[in-house]
């Protein structure tokens, strides 16, 4: 392994790292918003919308991200709607992640017994107060591990972005290998940068998880 070569490639990887991170986090943020909204709609069983979102969740959970990206990137322009590659990547991640997050949040909501909310109501709390002070915190603490797992999963899924010619980490590694055949160096750097991207999320996730869940589940 040639460290000099690796040093030389570093700037390219760094650039790809920031691109991956940017698109990844925008995608995750969108996924959380979509997922939460979808979970609430499904929980309240809002007519029509509830069915549409159900179909959305099944569609995106049961097709690969790569296929979804191809559809967005190559399919939509055929329908007269072309979007840039970075936007396409973020959108794909949002839609896929939204479906996963929706299910994670829903399972959290459903884990809270009806009697908990009834108790809050029996104490005179309004629907809104019950939701904010009882239902949400309890549901989120149940959802927390699934939520962290989803984030890690989504960040890893960014590795298919190269298929829509986004210069992410995977793309950069493949490109460099193709050009200079420094396979070992390129792949090592790839692993290191993915760890940079994901380890903080794992570590931070478990710290937050422990804090959020301490009250209910202990250390």
């Amino acid at each position: 392994m040639d460290l000099e070569v690796m040093k030389e490639y570093m700037p390219l990887y760094r650039e790809a790292f920031f691109l991956t991170m940017k698109i990844g986090w925008i995608g995750i943020l969108g996924a959380v918003i979509i997922g939460f909204a979808a979970a609430v709609v499904r929980l309240l069983k809002i007519p029509v919308l509830h069915r549409i979102l159900g179909a959305y969740i099944e569609l995106f959970r049961n097709t690969p991200l790569l296929v979804q990206l191809f559809f967005l990137y190559f399919g939509l322009p055929k329908l007269g709607l072309s979007i840039s590659a970075p936007f396409c990547g973020a959108l794909g991640l949002m839609l896929l992640g939204g479906a996963y997050m929706a299910e994670t949040f829903r399972s959290g909501f459903e884990a809270i017994p009806v009697l908990q909310t009834e108790t809050a109501r029996a104490l005179g709390m309004s629907k809104f107060q019950t939701t904010v002070h009882v239902l949400l915190p309890e549901a989120l603490s149940v959802s927390m591990p699934g939520f962290t797992a989803n984030m890690i999963f989504l960040l890893k899924e960014t590795s298919v972005f190269s298929a829509i010619s986004l210069m992410d980490l995977m793309f950069t590694a493949k490109d460099l290998i193709g050009l200079y055949f420094r396979t070992v160096e390129c792949l090592t750097l790839l692993v290191v940068f993915y760890l940079f991207l994901l380890l903080p999320v794992s570590i931070l996730g478990s710290i937050v998880e422990r804090r959020v869940r301490y009250a209910e589940f202990g250390a």
């Binding site: 029996a122 005179g124 709390m125 589940f217």
Partner: protein, 259 residues
Amino acid sequence: MAKELLKIEHITKSFDETVILRDLSLTVKEGEVLVIVGPSGCGKSTFLRCINGLETIQEGSIYLDGEKINDRSANLEKVRQKIGMVFQNYELFPHKTVLQNITMAPMLVQKKPKAEAEKEALSLLERVGLSDRKNFYPRQLSGGQKQRVAIVRALAMHPEILLFDEVTAALDPEMVREVLDVMLDLAKEGRTMIVVTHEMSFARAVADRIVFMDGGNIVEEGTPSEFFDNPQTDRAKKFLSTFSFDRIEKKDEYAGNPI
């Protein structure tokens, strides 16, 4: 004579086709302890849940302090502050400490300042012997402790009437006692209470009046001694007989020769 605090007139409750309560009427006076007994599924719990509007009734009226509370126009959030309810499985909020569980509703609903709510919570906790547990989470408490906290949580809202829904049914015998002692204490200080229970000796000790329910209505009512010593209906006699055992006669071959 004490005034009528709660007046229930001809209420009917059904879930789809199943009628749970049929044409039930009952009056509770201020300071009275009413104990409801009856077989499982007779509608006791549903009856309590109808009083504070957790279940809607199809027919009839419920008056608290002369005010009709089962109207659409009635403010249920106001009404519920006057009716404290304690559930079988405690239903403490698991993400809050003991103290937070108690102060939550007074602070959110009655807008009490935190210091005042906490001071009051602590003195109530003191009364039930749990002031040293104020910063514990529910999962760190025993069942009996949880239930005492749940009672304190209801008391902190200064309700006019307390509803207890089989509050000892999920507890070990020794914990049952610590919870019942708290309830006896509340009864002694003159609180108005409706207690649904299967603890017959407790019912006899605490009740001013016993109501026996079966099939969604009141079958018999009377003072504890009338009901327990001299039940009038066959249904009540049959129900009460399930709580006593006749001494068995061992067969000769086992006499003096235990297995």
